[in-house]
Symmetry: C2
Subunit: 335 residues, 2 copies
C-alpha cells in the first residue's frame, strides 16, 4: 500500500519538478573550474555585512529569494521552506526564514542537508501537500572554520586530508508540471560510523554512509550505476571519493565511469591550495543548483543521482572522544 520500494527508497509517482534554481558562491569558488555556472559570485567573504555568520545568512536569504523570483513566484506562494546549515542552531536558515515569512521547517543533516531537503520537499509535492516548496542550504568557509576548527586569524596549519568548506549556497523551488528536471526516487540514509575520529579527514568518515546509501538505492530501484549519466556525491573530496568507488566495487557496483564528487569538482585543489577539496552544505548545494541544474536544463545531461553526504559530529562530541557518524541521502533527478 505504501510508496516505498525496498527498504529505503520512495518512488515519486507524480515526479515533482525542480522549477527553478539559484546559487551564490564566494570569491575562491568563483575562481574555480565551475565559475561560469554559478549565478552570483561574491566579491568578498563578508558580503557587505559585519560578520561571517551574518554574511552566511545573507547569502542564504538572497539565494532563496532569487530562486523564487526565477520561478515567477512570490514568497506567499511558497508552502514550505526546508532549510538547514552547519552553524550552531542553524542560525543562517532561521534568520533567512525570519526575513522571508514562509512556513519554515528547519533541518540538520550537516553537509547532507541539500538532499535531505530535496527528499522531504519532493515527498511533500508528490503527496499534494501544497504546490511549491523551497529546498535550500548554505555554508561559509570563515564561519565554519572558526566554529569547527580555529578562527582564521590563528593561521593554523592545515592537514592535507582537510577539506575546504565552500562559501556558497543553493536553493531549488519544487513544483508540479512543466519541462523541468523531475525528482523520481529518494533514498534515505542510515547513520554509519566506522570509528574515524579525525575531524581533518571527513571524506573518510562520510564515505561508508555514501556507499551504504548508493548500495541501497541500486538494490531498491533495480537500477545499475550505468543508468545514470552522472552519480555525484556531495563533498567527499579526493580522499573520500577514492574510498567510495573502491568500497562500492566490493559490493559489486562499478561506478568508476560516471562518478563525480562536488567537493572534487568545485576547486582546482593543486592551484587553489584547497587540500582534499570542497566540503560544507553549500558544496553540493551550489554545484547542484549551479552546474548540474543548468546541464540538465540544457539537456547536456539527462539524469543524475545526487548524494549529499554529512558528518554529524560537533566540536563537543569530538572533544569527548566520540567518532564521527556519517549520513548520506540520495535523490535521482531526471530530465
Amino acid at each position: 500500500m505504501n510508496k516505498k520500494i525496498g527498504n529505503r527508497t520512495v518512488q515519486l509517482k507524480n515526479e515533482p519538478r525542480i522549477i527553478s534554481a539559484f546559487s551564490i558562491v564566494g570569491p575562491r569558488e568563483g575562481e574555480g573550474p565551475l565559475k561560469q555556472y554559478f549565478d552570483e559570485i561574491l566579491k568578498d567573504e563578508l558580503y557587505e555585512t559585519e560578520s561571517y555568520e551574518k554574511a552566511e545568512a545573507k547569502i542564504l536569504t538572497n539565494t532563496i529569494q532569487e530562486a523564487i523570483k526565477r520561478a515567477n513566484l512570490k514568497n506567499k506562494d511558497i508552502d514550505y521552506l526546508l532549510a538547514g546549515d552547519l552553524l550552531n542552531q542553524i542560525i543562517s536558515s532561521s534568520f533567512a526564514a525570519r526575513q522571508l515569512e514562509i512556513p519554515f521547517l528547519g533541518l540538520y543533516g550537516a553537509c547532507s542537508t541539500m538532499t535531505e531537503s530535496l527528499s522531504l520537499g519532493s515527498i511533500l509535492i508528490d503527496s499534494d501537500i501544497g504546490e511549491y516548496v523551497v529546498c535550500a542550504t548554505a555554508s561559509h568557509f570563515c564561519s565554519a572554520e572558526r566554529q569547527f576548527r580555529f578562527p582564521l586569524e590563528y593561521g593554523s596549519q592545515r592537514s592535507q586530508t582537510c577539506q575546504w568548506t565552500v562559501t556558497g549556497s543553493g536553493a531549488m523551488v519544487l513544483g508540479k508540471g512543466g519541462n523541468f528536471p523531475k525528482i523520481t526516487y529518494v533514498t534515505t540514509g542510515v547513520v554509519k560510523d566506522y570509528g574515524i575520529k579525525d575531524a581533518n579527514n571527513m571524506g573518510a568518515a562520510m564515505a561508508p554512509a555514501a556507499v551504504d546509501t548508493l548500495y541501497n538505492h541500486f538494490k531498491d530501484t533495480g537500477r545499475k550505476p550505468e543508468y545514470y549519466d552522472v552519480i555525484v556525491t556531495g563533498d567527499l573530496g579526493s580522499i573520500g571519493k577514492e574510498i567510495t568507488q573502491k568500497l562500492l566495487l566490493e559490493y559489486g557496483y562499478d561506478i568508476r565511469n560516471n562518478y563525480m564528487d562536488c567537493g572534487d569538482m568545485i576547486f582546482n585543489n593543486q592551484a587553489q591550495g584547497t587540500d582534499a577539496g570542497g566540503s560544507g552544505c553549500g558544496c553540493s548545494a551550489s554545484v547542484a543548483a549551479g552546474y548540474f541544474y543548468k546541464k540538465l536544463m540544457r539537456k547536456e545531461i539527462k539524469s543524475i543521482l545526487l548524494i549529499s553526504t554529512g558528518a554529524l559530529m560537533s566540536t563537543t562530541s569530538s572533544l569527548q572522544g566520540e567518532s564521527i557518524p556519517g549520513i548520506a541521502h540520495a535523490v535521482s533527478i531526471e530530465m
Copy 2:
C-alpha cells in the same frame, strides 16, 4: 488539488495514529506535579555516562527504543526517524540514530522540535510514505545550561524570567489504524521576531510565534478554541503563557478556559525553584508523550492542540546583537 486548507494547515485525511509513546525525565522533573505520568525517572542527571551530552543521547536512544518496543515493533520495521535536539549539530539525535539503524532525517526547530517532527511524521504516514515513523526529541538541563548560558559549576545567579531546561525526552511511534489518538491537522509556523534580545526571557520571545500559529490554525480550520479540551503550548512558561493568552484575545480568540503550557505544568516553580517554568525540546515532548498521551488513551481528554514553541537563536547570534526569532508548530491530536 492539494491537501492544504487555508494558508498554513494540512488536513490529514487518513488520520495517522500515535500507536505508542514513551517518556523519560530527570530527577527534578520526577519530583514535579506530573511525576506519576512519566515512564521512566532518572536517579541522577548523568544516567551512568561520563558527560551530560552523552547522558542526553542515551536518554533519547532509550526513549525511542522503548517507544518502538511498546508498539510491538522492531527497529527494522520503522521507515523513518525524525528527531532533533538543542545541542550544537543535534549530536544527541545523530548519536541516537547511530545506534538505532533507522533511516534518519535530522531536524532543528529548537524547542518546537516535537511538533515539527510530528508534523512531518504524520504527513509521511498520511501520504503512505512508509508504515511507521518515530518522532522524538530530548533536552538536558546541564548540557543546555553550559552550552547556552554558563557551566553549572560557575554558580551563576539566574534571572527570575529564566526558564529551566527540562531534562527529559519523548518519543511517539506513528502508524495507521487502531484505537489510538489520531493526528488530524498540522499547522506549520512562520518565524516571528519582535526584537526581544534577552536570552533569559525566552517565553516573551516565543509568544508571538505561538500566537501567530494558533491564530492561523483557528482561521484555517474554522475551529474555535473551545473545540479542544486542551490547548497546550510547549514551553512558554508562566510569562510567555500570560502574553500568549492576552495577545490572542486581541485577535478575537479567548483561550483562557482551556489553555495550558507544558513548561508551566512540569514543575511547581515556587517549591522547586524553577523560576518561570520548564523549557527545552524535552519539555513539550515529555509532557505530551507522558501526560497527554495517557490522558488521551484513558479517554479522560478527547482532543488537544499541541503547539511546541522554539527560540531559534544561538550564543553567537546573541553575542552579535541579534534578537531572538521564534517559531511554533501546531498539531491537533484527537481520540
